[in-house]
Structures are given as structure tokens and as C-alpha cells.
């Protein structure tokens, strides 16, 4: 068999493999791609602001996302002294009596607000859009046992919301939590307030190197551990 024959054999095998996927379709409509691109541009513009301005901008968004919870944000909107339960339209953070922090996620939005709230609870935390890599954060060495001692993911009965329970007491000294959220391209054009995930979210794992806490049809939430630092986790 000469070189051309070998190429032909490999080409045929790969083509057969690809053809076997004829039933696999990219079902995201083109306008959803465009809407996501526009949302991404807005996000880039927002996060491209100076740090102080970005905090204010994020705060403003958090305020606009407030749900009637009976716990209005402070005047500044920054939850530096937020009540034991801080509820936004996108998520709820409740500090439990045993020190655990329960995060109920309904929308993959307002990461800066969630980050501020977690930090206000004394948790070194970095919450980002998965599209935004934070170079100031370094992954913390971890074992699966350590990881699972810190995080638990649940699916709320009824609503299907994702519940993430964080056990701060299990965090090693010098470590912080990292939560990343991304909206899927099927999400409508809602800027930084993407579609609610409560009807479609389910727990799964993409693959061993892309572990996720919860994967929604419309988005994905990933969690990890990072070295705590002022730049990455606020403390």
C-alpha cells in the first residue's frame, strides 16, 4: 500500500465516522448566535471599565435585578452587610446556622453581585463569566475528596433550580472558591440578565476535564478552587 492509498484509507474511515453523525445538528438558531455576540460585546465594554466603575456598574445591575425579597440592598447596593439571606432575581445566598453557604441559582447572571455577596459572608470568592478568564486567579491544588468536602450541588425539587452548598470550614487556609457561569448561545438577548435556567437545568458532567456543577440547556455553572488573594478572591 503506497502513501496515497494509506491517506485514502484514513480519509475514508474519518469520513465514515463523520457521516455517522448525520443525525447530529447544530440547532442553535443564527439570531441566537448574534444575540449572544452582542451580549458579549456589552459585557466586554462593561468589564473593560476601571475597577471602581465596574463595581458601580455591577451594583447598578444587581439593583435592577432585585426581586421582592423583603431584604432590599443597602443604599450603595453593595451587600457589605447584607442580611443572612440575600435574594436577587438571579440567585439567593443564605448563610446557614452551621456556617454553610447555600446558593440557589435561578439565572446565570450578575456574577459581580454574587461575588460581592459571598465575600460579604467572609468567603474568599471569585465569580466570573466563563468567557472571562481572570489572570489573577491561580488554580488551587485539590483532590476530589477535598473538593467534595467543600461543594455540594443539588437540584431543587419542583423549581429545578440549582442549589450549590459551600462549606467554608472545609476550605484550606489560603484557598478560595471560584464559580463560573456561562450562558448558552440559545439564550435570548438579555444582556447581563440571561435566561432563567429553572425549567431546564439538570446536573451532569461534560467530561472528566470539564467537570461542572450543573449544566443547563441554556447555560453551565462550573466550580473550582483557587488561591485566595486580594486580586482574585478579595481577601
Amino acid at each position: 500500500m503506497n502513501a496515497n492509498d494509506t491517506v485514502a484509507v484514513v480519509r475514508d474511515s474519518l469520513t465514515t465516522a463523520k457521516d455517522s453523525l448525520a443525525g447530529v445538528h447544530m440547532n442553535t438558531p443564527p439570531d441566537a448566535i448574534a444575540r449572544n455576540g452582542r451580549a458579549r460585546r456589552r459585557w466586554h465594554r462593561l468589564t473593560g471599565l476601571t475597577g471602581a466603575t465596574a463595581v458601580v456598574a455591577g451594583t447598578a445591575l444587581a439593583v435592577t435585578a432585585l426581586a421582592p425579597s423583603g431584604h432590599p440592598a443597602s443604599q450603595s447596593g453593595h451587600p457589605a452587610s447584607h442580611p443572612r439571606t440575600a435574594q436577587l432575581a438571579a440567585w439567593t445566598v443564605a448563610k446557614q446556622a452551621n456556617g454553610d453557604i447555600k446558593v440557589t441559582i435561578r439565572q446565570l447572571s450578575d456574577p459581580s453581585g454574587l461575588q460581592s455577596t459571598l465575600r460579604a459572608d467572609g468567603l474568599p470568592a471569585s465569580v466570573t463569566s466563563l468567557a472571562q478568564h481572570d489572570p489573577s486567579c491561580r488554580p488551587y491544588p485539590q483532590t476530589q475528596a477535598l473538593f467534595k468536602s467543600i461543594y455540594q450541588a443539588q437540584k431543587a425539587a419542583g423549581s429545578g433550580n440549582t442549589i450549590l452548598i459551600i462549606h467554608p470550614s472545609a476550605l484550606p487556609s489560603g484557598a478560595g472558591v471560584q464559580i463560573g457561569a456561562a450562558v448558552d448561545q440559545q439564550v435570548g438577548d438579555r444582556g447581563l440578565h440571561p435566561v432563567a435556567v429553572n425549567q431546564t437545568i439538570h446536573h451532569s458532567v461534560l467530561q472528566p476535564v470539564h467537570q461542572v456543577a450543573a449544566r443547563a440547556h441554556y447555560g453551565v455553572i462550573r466550580v473550582g478552587l483557587v488561591y485566595a488573594s486580594q486580586q482574585c478572591t478579595g481577601s
Partner: protein, 160 residues
């Protein structure tokens, strides 16, 4: 060509190619959607490329590497939900796809452009910014590796 037209005409093919590489339907969808979003954001530049769909596939696969580097320290929560397409399990040797995924990055790119996107050597060279002879060398090595992973007609795998 407008973005929507480009997207409609290429999206399924790009998704299937990326799926061959990553082996996970959800992940492939996420990667391709991400690549098309970036293409939309840079459409003025991307549309001028010689083979925009090659840009999409390469971007998706590079994003895969980037995500892997960023997320490799994470550990799973929740239930495991494997998304390997059943079609692949029966259509070809899993060894072939495993061998494809183990190829060095440049060889994998050459295989993708030459054999899966069916570009000729010169176009592949221009897309990758390398010499045509280099394309041939990478393809030769890659094909030798992949051929060894394809079962022969008598059911025995061919050794190198």
C-alpha cells in the same frame, strides 16, 4: 456572504468535526457555538478569510484546549452524564478516534483541514501559515499513526 448564510451552510459540518475530536456532544456544541459567536463578533475579518469554516473549527478546538487548561483542576459534582454519541461507537473503531485525539496539535490540525474539511495541501498551508511541504510531512506522520488504529479487513489491527 452574510453571517447567517455562512452559519446555516457550515454549522452541522463544523459541529460533527469538532465532535469527532472531543467525543462529547454537549461539549462540542458549546465549543462550536462559542466559535461561531467569536466569528460573529469578528465577522468583517473572518468573512475575508480563505476558508472561514476552517477558522471556526480551529477556534473551537483551540477553545477546547483553553478550557481544559483553565478547568482541569475542577472536580465533578452531580451525576455523570456521558454524552458520547452512540453512532460513533458503532460506526468506526474507537481506537481511530482515540488516536486522532492523541495526535500532536499540528498533526491534528492538518488532518482536520486536509481530510475532514477536504482542503488541498496549498490551502491548508496558507490557512496554517506553514509551507506545503510541512503540511505533507505532518500529514504523513499523522496518517501513519491513524492507519495503525484502523482494523484491517481480517479484523487484526495493523501494527506500525
Amino acid at each position: 456572504m452574510e453571517f447567517a448564510e455562512f452559519y446555516e451552510s457550515t454549522r452541522d459540518d463544523c459541529l460533527r468535526i469538532v465532535l469527532l475530536h472531543v467525543g462529547d456532544r454537549h461539549l462540542a456544541h458549546d465549543l462550536v457555538a462559542e466559535a461561531y459567536t467569536r466569528a460573529w463578533m469578528s465577522w468583517r475579518k473572518v468573512r475575508e478569510l480563505e476558508v472561514p469554516r476552517a477558522w471556526v473549527v480551529r477556534t473551537a478546538l483551540n477553545t477546547h484546549v483553553s478550557w481544559w487548561r483553565r478547568r482541569r483542576h475542577e472536580v465533578a459534582l452531580g451525576h455523570h452524564d456521558t454524552a458520547m454519541p452512540a453512532e460513533l461507537a458503532t460506526a468506526v473503531s474507537g481506537d481511530l478516534l482515540a488516536a486522532l485525539r492523541r495526535l500532536p496539535a499540528r498533526q491534528r490540525e492538518v488532518v482536520t483541514l486536509r481530510l475532514l474539511l477536504d482542503l488541498d495541501t496549498e490551502t491548508t498551508a496558507r490557512v496554517l501559515g506553514i509551507a506545503p511541504g510541512t503540511v505533507g510531512a505532518h500529514l504523513h506522520r499523522a496518517v501513519a499513526t491513524l492507519r495503525a488504529a484502523i482494523p484491517s479487513h481480517d479484523g487484526q489491527e495493523i501494527s506500525k
